[in-house]
């Protein structure tokens, strides 16, 4: 039996409740495949920021490389602005840059019984957005120039940066269980290469990498067409790969089609560290009231299990969540679980134990 060592950043607002839920589920899932879980609490978020002026405690980045994965709840730093108008804190920036987690993996899957603004049914939406996480427009944060009359940010892509994230997308398309409606493994390159050099560069490298994966289909969408098609024909998509800012925008779009951010986990994967979190914020108004939907955090835990080499345990968690929605044990009203956060946890754990 293996011991899985997981770093845990509880986060702020609803973070601690969500993380407690995910940990309970992970515990059951890991036990279910004959292993055990060891948790190491790490500090990060609002408290740490207020105490130290940094959103992450010293040493976390180093220790993270030793964990099988870092599970992170949503954080909510005080809204301190820099002189240039941008936010001062942003733990995401520290972690993504500090751990060089170049692939931000965001699965979008419509579960049974989840109300959405669209007419799609479960099975119609099951794709993964792979967002480049270390360069693109975001790298300009804190670096762009401005005065009172003009402002400039930069969008930078490097061969190394594009290549590794595109490879990640193709590897994922080879191995993942979900599938588009036609069942064909496919990576879609999203860019604006008709207008901008950096995106044309992205597409060129995409095409080079694609040649190494003759068993995986590939195609292309300009960013505007991708935004259209993620609403109009989401069933086409399997894995999509794109620049950082595009990934930020299109993953929130995707979230809206699967019932909201509360359904959406993410993995931030680097060569020697990875962390796993919901894509939403810390919702302070719901905190401590057993009201929040823990599904995003629980599914983030499932991504951690995949990454840690226990994909069967990850699948078991996803199946348990799916089952709890399918048989009506979990129902959402306005995005919140009817019986509360802990009831969702219990329903998922019960199905894990049964399954």
């Amino acid at each position: 039996a293996r011991t899985l060592t997981i770093g845990v950043i509880e986060g702020d607002g609803i973070g601690p409740e969500l993380v407690a839920s995910a940990v309970e589920v992970l515990d059951a899932a890991v036990a279910g495949v004959g292993h055990r879980l060891e948790l190491v609490r790490e500090d990060g978020g609002a408290d740490t920021y207020r105490r130290t002026g940094e959103a992450l405690a010293p040493g976390v980045l180093d220790r993270a490389r030793g964990y099988d994965g870092l599970l992170k709840g949503p954080v909510g730093l005080p809204d301190v602005r820099r002189p240039d108008g941008t936010e001062a804190g942003l733990l995401g920036g520290l972690l993504r840059g500090g751990l060089d987690t170049y692939a931000n993996v965001r699965p979008m899957r419509l579960l049974p019984g989840v109300a959405t603004p669209t007419r799609y049914a479960p099975g119609d939406i099951d794709y993964v957005i792979v967002r480049e996480n270390t360069e693109g427009l975001y790298l300009s944060r804190g670096v762009g120039v401005r005065n009172d009359r003009a402002a400039v940010d930069q969008l930078m892509m490097t061969r190394h940066g594009v290549e590794r994230v595109v490879r990640h997308a193709f590897d994922l398309a080879r191995t993942r269980r979900g599938a588009p409606v036609d069942g064909v493994s496919r990576v879609t390159c999203v860019d604006k290469s008709n207008v901008l050099r950096s995106f044309a560069f992205f597409r060129e490298i995409f095409e080079e990498v694609a040649a190494d994966y003759p068993d995986v289909e590939h195609d292309f969408r300009y960013a505007d067409a991708a935004a259209h098609d993620l609403v109009a024909s989401p069933g086409h998509f399997d894995v999509l790969v794109m620049e950082n800012f595009l990934g930020d925008i299109l993953s929130d779009l995707g979230a809206a089609t699967v019932g909201g951010l509360g359904m959406c986990p993410s993995a931030n994967v680097g060569a020697d560290a990875a962390y796993f979190e919901p894509i939403h914020g810390s919702a302070p108004s719901l905190a401590g009231r057993d009201l929040a939907n823990p599904v995003s955090q629980v599914l983030a835990g499932a991504l951690l299990l995949d990454h840690a080499g226990l994909p069967a345990a990850g699948d078991a968690v996803r199946a348990a969540v799916h089952g709890a929605f399918a048989d009506g044990a979990v129902r959402l009203a306005d995005g919140r679980p009817e019986g509360g956060t802990r009831a969702v946890t219990a329903a998922v754990v019960e199905r894990l134990a049964a399954g």
Copy 2:
């Protein structure tokens, strides 16, 4: 009686059919308010490009400033790539830059009887995206740098550029007929000011301009949240204003929620010239077959009438289109009108004559 002088670029593919339809409708609408229409044919698009190496005939930009408006069909230039991988032609770039049409105005309205992937009803979606059209990330076209190892584009905003487009958005919110679900006139600033200086700069100027319009509400959305909310709660929005690239992406998203690009007109408005076009392409496979949906082009004509100082005629066109959908005279199957392009034209003209 006034003579309205309109420049006309027919465009490629389905362009000539669409423009013929719009001209017929405009003729009736202008006559309906006691004026007359004079058309001046201008050359632009694929033929011009093949003959001259430029997508626009000489003198068009100068003459455009003398017209009451320029009606343009979709164009489809041969896909010639520059050494950097971007497209060589792009008539849009020539016109937007050449005429300094800084506001790209894209109304999104769900009409009765139009099938969409969402559960919304007519009245739930009726907003306008105002896309900055002369700077932002697009200004980097042909200017960004790249070699084999990296590529950089720039996102530039200027005080002048932001101010004028934000003013346009507030002026539009004051005068336009459509409304969000709560009936409150509102301008939403879409940016990513938490991360990037250029967007923080955009937001600062937005706030300065907003202070001049105390009668119009304003609020803010980060770009990711805007993408989410345009799917999840489109009824909130009235007028949205944003940087060029964001406007490109979010307007295609919006189009998907109102039945596709075939329903979406746009106005490109500058201080001394304006042109009006659908936001879709030239669909060569449908060309010359009386198959295409002319609604985007007809509604582009209505925007031209508004701009030319004949808003009652513009309203009449919109009402006629709305009526033709409402009473089932026009029905779309897979985005194409059941009776063909000309039948749509006839139905709209008939309602104009009746109304």
